[in-house]
């Protein structure tokens, strides 16, 4: 690729938002037939750069070249017309419409009187679908397709033009392994056609499998480009965070207390079956598995948000009847949910009100909420968890991800729960806050809390857990103690490969 012109090249891009320099003098190039990974922590400027690449945002300074011709992309449609297509992370399809209408969304072929030329539409769509080798046709309603097939529709949309560069934003986030293989095949095919591919992902494993080069952003600045074949995860991580992240294995060996939570033979429809485990006081149990393995659903059941079809939940040896979060909270069970903004916080409310919401009934003076009692709790946990906010009146929506997560954790700690369940504790949180939250989880166990951590990141699970439960497809495959677990055995367990030591 030495003499070739880059398919897409950015030069000294600057993008500012009020008060933030989101991109600071970033240059970046993708060659034809190259898969180029773009990496960086959340907030590093990746998404801004993607939006500039895809024509959604206009840079304040700098230039964009397509095959070395300077160009300006005013809208996503304009970018597409010039051969740059963006495959969104959140699928941007109209699910009530047909595959063909989605592929040609905004560009339906016309006949006289503004009529759609259906014949031409289906013909063109079929031609594209044929090259992708998919199992659905142009007339299928998109809502009836699987997520993976919907993604294929998105990719098919990119092929309506002869693309120079295609940008993939976390394309594997909700795909099964088999579906990933299909996706990687399509990417390989695009590559062989000489399309430049920008591939954004957090998953190192994938990055090392399919990319040729890796460019890294940090704090809105370009930090360098590495040849994938000549680097390793450590080097990339260092570049991303400016130092190595301490994700050593948990090697503390603490005495655990009594069993706090026990689950026996719990099942819930097709979501998970016959799940049994125990959590002791002073212990962190990590639940590891792929997205969709049923981990979050178990947590939601224990927290009263789903009704189990079978099985028991016991706390301190007593069977509980939990039909709602209100019941769960009464028994001292807390859940820090996976989706912080959607489920954890009322973003328009202030920090204090969010933190005290579950116990607001008890913080009263007469019929009214006691300001003093609320502020006291807020101050206590702000200090304890080192939440950085100008004051309790600050609207939660304006805080950083890490501080928001601490508000949610503070919300439950202030209730002094028996069991704390934390679902994806560090998703979308910057590196600094990540290790703070890891330390916090370890500390909580040290103070005698029974903690369940659900995570899709293996280093995180290995770092914080005393015991690890591996799940696959709604079943517990195996339980590991921190001493015996190896990365290989864990990966085997969550991939559904039965080992002889089934728990």
């Amino acid at each position: 690729m030495t003499d070739e012109k880059p398919a897409l090249r950015l030069e000294n891009i600057v993008k500012t938002f009020p008060g933030v320099r989101a991109l600071d003098d970033v240059s970046f190039a993708v060659m034809p037939g190259e898969v180029h990974a773009l990496m960086g922590e959340n907030g590093a400027g990746k998404s801004t750069l993607m939006k500039v690449l895809g024509g959604i945002l206009q840079p304040n300074e700098g230039r964009i070249f397509i095959e070395e011709e300077s160009t300006i992309m005013t809208t996503p449609l304009d970018a597409k017309a010039k051969g740059v297509v963006f495959i969104h992370q959140e699928l941007s399809l109209a699910d009530e419409l047909s595959v063909a209408e989605n592929i040609f969304l905004g560009e339906l072929p016309r006949k006289s009187f503004g009529r759609v030329d259906w014949g031409k539409l289906y013909e063109q769509t079929d031609a594209i679908l044929k090259t992708l080798n998919v199992g659905f046709n142009a007339r299928t309603r998109v809502g009836d397709l699987s997520i993976a097939n919907q993604q294929m529709v998105e990719i098919a949309r990119a092929l309506t033009v002869d693309p120079r560069a295609v940008i993939f934003d976390e394309p594997t986030a909700s795909l099964t392994d088999a579906e990933k293989v299909v996706l990687f095949d399509v990417i390989a095919d695009l590559k062989s056609r000489g399309v430049g591919i920008v591939y954004i992902s957090h998953r190192m494993e994938e990055i090392f499998k399919i990319t040729d080069r890796i460019s890294v952003l940090r704090d809105g600045q370009y930090r360098g480009t590495l040849e994938t074949a000549k680097t390793d995860e450590d080097e990339v991580t260092q570049l991303m965070i400016g130092r190595s992240l301490d994700l050593s294995r948990n090697e503390e060996h603490r005495e655990h207390g009594e069993v706090a939570l026990e689950v026996r033979g719990l099942s819930c429809g097709d979501l998970y079956r016959d799940v049994s485990f125990k959590v002791h006081r002073g212990e962190v149990v990590g639940f590891y598995g792929l997205v969709g393995a049923g981990r979050t659903e178990i947590a939601e059941t224990i927290f009263g948000l789903r009704d189990p079809s079978e099985g028991q939940i016991l706390l301190d040896g007593q069977e509980l009847r939990i039909h709602s979060p209100v019941d769960a909270i009464r028994h001292g069970i807390s859940l820090v949910p996976e989706d912080r903004k959607g489920q954890g916080l009322v973003l328009g409310m202030n920090c204090r009100d969010n933190m005290t919401l579950p116990q607001v009934d008890d913080l009263t003076a007469g019929p009214f909420v006691s300001d003093g009692a609320e502020i006291a709790i807020f101050d206590q946990y702000r200090d304890k968890l080192d939440i950085r906010t100008p004051g309790w009146r600050q609207t939660v929506g304006n805080l950083s991800g890490g501080n928001q997560q601490k508000i949610v954790i503070g919300k439950w700690l202030s209730m002094h729960p028996n069991v704390l369940i934390v679902d994806e504790p560090t998703r979308g949180i910057d590196v600094g806050s990540k290790s703070e939250i890891h330390n916090l989880i370890r500390d909580l166990a040290g103070q005698g809390y029974a903690v369940i951590v659900i995570s899709s990141e293996m280093p995180e699970v290995l770092h914080v857990s005393d015991r690890i439960v591996a799940m696959y497809h709604g079943r517990i495959m195996r339980e590991f103690s921190a001493e015996e677990v190896t990365e290989d055995s864990l990966i085997q367990a969550i991939s559904g490969i039965e080992s002889e030591k089934v728990a």
Partner: protein
């Protein structure tokens, strides 16, 4: 961009704009007509706004909780007709509580549908608008309702009486406004209403019983409607069975004018009162300067759209929407 100063002014207008507009209107009308700022006139305006106002207080809870209530108009007709009928059948002392009971039952039904069955509030209350209207017509046999003995009853006190020179409807409105304002702003229940409207999912995940909170907002709305019906019936001691028709949208206009977002989670009782008073004083001011009552409709239209527009313009930092 150069919008920074405009944005500050816009932000101020958005936060306080409704009060600024109110004050400007008052000054304008006061200059145009010296009868405008007299105790009599002010009392008159508030008294005639009381029925709308009382209903708006209840709807404020529903809207902050993230729902709509389009049934309040026909429910108010229902309360009015029922209390007039029961006045003669049971006597006012029994008739009034019986009417409250029946209206609250309707509110509970709506609350059950929207809260516990989680049905869309716009359609449910649209259906109930029609259903309750039918109920009222069936109940009254399609006829107007009048108290037989208009001289010999104390029932007129709620609509016509006054205590220490203050008309009773104003007292009821003020009392309810103060109480409900405290409930919304100061009690745990009020906090939960904001949480449920702001992010119902997060509220549920925080152990807030969302269904019950929504249910309660409809009960409060029904209580306010019953009270409005009581004032309405008492004021004229007789009524058409369509007396509240169309009021649901005027009530909603007042609540929106007060700055409550239809998405839920924001608004206050105090602001709603301001919204109600603005509507009342505009109507009155226009009448006093010699314009017909219906001119207020046009003025209200302009004000509502300007108020909401300025509000969201300030939030997004630009006047025109980014819609392509």
């Amino acid at each position: 961009m150069a919008a920074l100063t405009t944005k500050n002014i816009g932000g101020f207008l958005a936060r306080q704009g409704i009060i600024v507009a109110f004050v400007l209107f008052m000054i304008g009308f006061a200059l145009a007509n010296d009868r405008f700022i007299t105790m009599d006139n002010i009392f008159g305006v508030i008294r005639s706004s009381a029925i709308l106002g009382v209903m708006a207080l209840g709807v404020t809870f529903v809207v902050i909780g993230g729902n709509l209530d389009l049934s309040v108009g026909s429910m108010m007709s229902f309360s009015t007709i029922v209390v007039l009928d029961l006045h003669d059948k049971l006597g006012p002392a029994l008739g009034i509580p019986a009417m409250y009971g029946m209206t609250l039952a309707l509110g509970a039904f709506i609350g059950f549908l929207v809260g516990y069955l989680k049905l869309n509030s716009l359609i449910v209350t649209l259906g109930m608008l029609s259903a309750i209207h039918g109920l009222t017509l069936t109940y009254s046999g399609g006829k107007n309702m009048d108290i037989a003995d208009k001289e010999g009853t104390w029932f007129g006190i709620f609509g016509q009486g006054s205590i220490l020179g203050v008309p009773v409807p104003i007292l009821i409105f003020a009392l309810l406004a103060v109480v409900l304002s405290m409930v919304l702003a100061k009690t745990p229940f009020g906090r939960k209403v904001y949480a449920v409207g702001g992010n119902g999912m997060a509220a549920t995940f925080s152990g807030v019983p969302r269904a019950r909170v929504v249910f309660m907002t409809y009960l409060i709305s029904a209580f306010c409607v019953a009270t409005a019906g009581l004032i309405q019936a008492s004021r004229s001691l007789g009524s058409q069975n369509t007396v509240g028709q169309g009021m649901e949208l005027e009530v909603l206009a007042a609540v929106i004018l007060g700055g409550a977002s239809l998405l839920g989670g924001s608004g206050t009782v105090f602001k709603t009162v301001i919204g109600v008073l603005i509507l009342g004083f505009i109507q009155n001011g226009l009448l006093l300067v010699g314009l017909e009552f219906y001119v207020q409709y046009v003025v209200t239209w302009v004000i509502i759209i300007l108020a909401v527009w300025l509000d969201i313009a300030a939030k997004r930092g630009r006047l025109l929407s980014p819609i392509a």
